[in-house]
Amino acid sequence: MIRVAVQPAAIDIAAELDLHDAGGHGASASFIGRVRGDGDLTELFLDHHPAMTGAGLADLAHAAADRWHLSALTLIHRVGAMVPGETIVFILASSPHRAEALAACEFLIDRLKTDVMLWKRESFADGRVQWVEPREGDNARADRWS
């Protein structure tokens, strides 16, 4: 019912849709986050803590399942090096009720930005490499749920 993965491999959305057992009926809300090519970004690297990142994602998934009535939940996060257009994160929440599927999906994407042990490094076409700074806006969105 709850599937969580942290993986360096590309995220196969069609395969994840098939794996996800929505119970055959009700509502599914999903979110797909992709690497943006803004400012000539050539690579996004996501550093992670092997044990803590997976545990953090699993905690978030269980928090969502405790809070909303979900028939299935898929939460897949990619780590390592990615290029623009590749999928970083895929969230898929199913429920008999659409409001719960939508809320769970939004909760997860907001909390992922602040609660999970992930660090972003951006590389650009001109050779610049920089670690991303935390964004105040992300904290504000995540705080809506507490």
Binding site: M52, K120, R121, P134
Partner: protein, 85 residues
């Protein structure tokens, strides 16, 4: 006491290693004094921990404040604030 330290993100890059096992002097009792000790140890540590207010820590997989004691710890992870998924 021997302690494993793991570094992440720019802390890892500045330290030049992903992890190391150190023998701590008895004076290093909490995360804050560990950070100060690493900053004083060599040039890499001086650069990595030049802004200790930016450092976050986890002890044996659990997020901890900088005043958390190290007694009984097996692994300390040191890293900047997370920047999300």
């Amino acid at each position: 006491m021997p302690l494993e330290i793991a570094y992440f993100a720019w802390v890892r890059e500045r330290m030049g290693v992903a992890d190391e096992t150190v023998d701590l002097p008895a004076s290093v009792s909490n995360v804050s004094s560990l950070v100060a000790w690493l900053a004083a140890r060599d040039a890499r540590g001086q650069i990595a921990f030049a802004e200790p207010q930016l450092i976050r820590a986890a002890i044996d997989g659990v997020m901890m404040g900088l005043d958390a004691p190290l007694a009984g710890a097996r692994e300390v992870a040191l890293f900047p604030p997370v920047t999300g998924g």
